[in-house]
Symmetry: C2
Amino acid sequence: MPLPKTIKSERLYHGRIFDLVIEDMEEQDGNIRKCEIISHPGGGVVIPIFDNGDILLVRQYRYPFKTFVLEAPAGKLEPNEDPLDCAKRELKEETGYTAEKFIQLTAMYTTPGFCNEVLHVYLATGLKKSELGQNLDDGEQSLTVESLPLTQAIEMITKGEIVDGKTIVGILLAEQKMKQSH
Amino acid sequence: MPLPKTIKSERLYHGRIFDLVIEDMEEQDGNIRKCEIISHPGGGVVIPIFDNGDILLVRQYRYPFKTFVLEAPAGKLEPNEDPLDCAKRELKEETGYTAEKFIQLTAMYTTPGFCNEVLHVYLATGLKKSELGQNLDDGEQSLTVESLPLTQAIEMITKGEIVDGKTIVGILLAEQKMKQSH
């Protein structure tokens, strides 16, 4: 079956976080469809686990929901940045911690129906507090760091108290990975 | 700590799947920040599990990635639609199956940094093939249905062969839920 073909691509909005692109796609049956795409650079996500089994999360104000959301440390890729470097940078900036070991858990699509964002999710162990501490971006000034037992985090997923997609994926895959290595 | 306040809200784009809204937010420190928000109606997601333990997934062309992606049946909420009704409708439209029992697994945020999309994820059991069969939307004509053992789906997550966020979340939570009930 031939794939749909892009006939025309127009950037309607160039933003700080994403671009909005409209593409005319020629379908298999010859029809032209207008497709709305949010073009996003992707990002790095870290599931930081202490030696005692606690997980480190961040709580920050998320303006699309007008509330605080408990999430894994994460951030956007800089141009040409390696996803692992991004993950290390975001862990340090948001929590003030560095990690000895990073293992990739997945590279996930957040919402493939309209957005090309890919998040590279890592399990980070061997955590050490860096001397420099946090280094928060603009708009992250309200971010706070919380640590809790991994088992409690899993309960919070089941109860609907942790609802962020990348955080649920990362925690459940980290738990799986750590069971395997024991 | 006072929450940031919306000073101004402007819709830059009104789309088929989402709107693009720019909000001026007054931060705690009095600074005004321009925030980019993708406003999305949210959706229903179904993890359909057969009595023999197989899971039903759909493979469809996703134009943001220019490739086919293996995902749970899912779709956008219609105006004022109950998320469970949406899930039932999408299961039937995309796979031609109905289910006797739906259990909510979570209501997840796909990418809360810039988008207010909430996906309501359900485990569906007691599957029955409906007489009417599939009823695909425009642009879903290339969608195909696949069933595979749940254990194989979990392996595919670990190997990076299933990468869609809602599908990973749904499968891992469904597995947890089914273990509890045995």
